[in-house]
């Protein structure tokens, strides 16, 4: 029933992955430099959708669903609501390029973050998929929790207390919004 993760040890990037990464990167850059806020929101939604597809390619459908629903769907709608109060820039420029100083800071930030990439394990055969804990979950999740999706088994059973905390965090966010707005109901 539970097949071990039989991903080949992957150190190169396939054409599909390269295309997806280029798409996501392009969307991110467009979202950063465009002046029209509606275009920025659309670019950000496309970015989230691209990331969701990347999660599917990396065989993480649970994360992909969350990214697509929250990142590309709900967040986009909330942003669309908020820009209704803004006005379009009147001048002709369509791009807002960063200044020299912020560009240099940006470059330094990218270099620092990029320097950590070689330290990541290759896809497949990493300590995560081959580790003792992961293998224990894969082997025992079905008999111990009676659910087939190991992600759900970890979230709701093995790490159930953590998930309760997360659910309460979402609940608290709603309560906090009501407190800040000094209202008793949402609608």
């Amino acid at each position: 029933m539970i097949e071990p993760l039989a991903l080949p040890l992957q150190t190169t990037v396939s054409a599909l992955e390269a295309a997806l990464l280029a798409f996501v990167l392009g969307c991110a850059v467009i979202a950063a430099v465009l002046r029209d806020v509606l275009g920025v929101i659309i670019a950000a939604a496309a970015y989230s959708l691209g990331v969701a597809v990347i999660w599917v390619v990396l065989r993480a459908p649970d994360v992909a669903l969350t990214e697509a629903a929250v990142g590309a769907g709900v967040t986009t709608l909330l942003f669309l609501l908020t820009i209704a109060k803004t006005v379009n820039p009147t001048d002709e420029r369509s791009l807002e390029l960063p200044s020299v100083g912020s560009g240099a800071a940006l470059l330094a930030f990218v270099l620092v973050l990029g320097s950590t990439v070689p330290a990541m394990p290759a896809i497949g055969g990493s300590p995560v998929t081959d580790g003792e804990v992961s293998q224990y979950y894969l082997e025992h999740a079905h008999e111990q929790t009676e659910v087939d999706n190991v992600v759900t088994a970890v979230l709701a059973a093995y790490r159930g207390f953590d998930t309760l905390g997360e659910a309460v965090v979402v609940f608290s966010a709603g309560v906090a919004v009501l407190v800040v707005l000094q209202r008793e109901v949402f609608v």
Binding site: L38, P61, D62, A64, L65, T66, A69, V70, G73, V74, L77, L78, L80, L81, T82, I83, A84, K85, T86, V87, N88, Q144, T145, E146, V147, D148, N149, V151, T152, A153, L155, A156, A157, G160, F161, T163, L164, A167, V168, V170, F171, A173, G174, V177, L178, L181, R183, V185, F186, V187
Partner: protein
């Protein structure tokens, strides 16, 4: 796109006019066709999260986006009037209480917190996990729709004050 341009013009000319909603046959027809399928997908992801990809968070977000879609297509005001104010708060609290309740039940039955096996029903663990996923889904649905309406209400600015009175009349009408 035309949504926003008209909305901006409205805000510019008359402060807090009609807001960003523009009636569009294309959007309304699309949402009318798509919404039942999206809601079904959301419920499927929520109920079937134990055996396939998904779960309460994902299913709740998808199901919640149905309400957002309806609000975009048919106007925020009518959808807000259609939702009883108590429903969102009730869902929110019920979700947390479901989760805590299952944990408390396992404690009362002599097990550890959330040790589902001690509940004396058939496939206790699987059903408890499903129940918890539904609780999480209820929290996420209510918070997403709640945040949406809170932001939309904030957009009305000074006009937000008479709203509690409006709601009061609505609830009285329904009751």
């Amino acid at each position: 796109m035309s949504d926003r341009e008209t909305g901006t013009a409205d805000v510019g000319s008359s402060a807090g006019g009609r807001g960003p909603y523009v009636e569009s046959t294309i959007i309304m027809t699309t949402v009318r066709v798509v919404a039942p399928f999206v809601l079904t997908l959301g419920l499927f992801v929520m109920f079937h999260g134990a055996d396939s990809a998904g779960g309460g968070f994902q299913g709740g977000a998808i199901a919640g986006s149905v309400v957002l879609m309806l609000a975009f297509a048919f106007g925020i005001g009518p959808v807000r009037d259609w939702i009883h104010p108590g429903i969102l708060l009730g869902l929110m609290v019920a979700g947390v209480l479901t989760f805590v309740g299952v944990g408390a039940l396992t404690l009362l039955l002599g097990g550890n917190f959330l040790e589902y096996g001690v509940i004396p029903i058939y496939h206790a663990s699987a059903y408890s996990i499903e129940l918890i996923e539904l609780g999480i889904g209820a929290i996420v649905v209510s918070i997403i729709t709640g945040l949406f309406f809170a932001i939309a209400g904030g957009m009305e600015g000074p006009g937000a004050e008479p709203k509690p009175a409006e709601e009061a009349t609505v609830t009285e009408d329904e009751a």
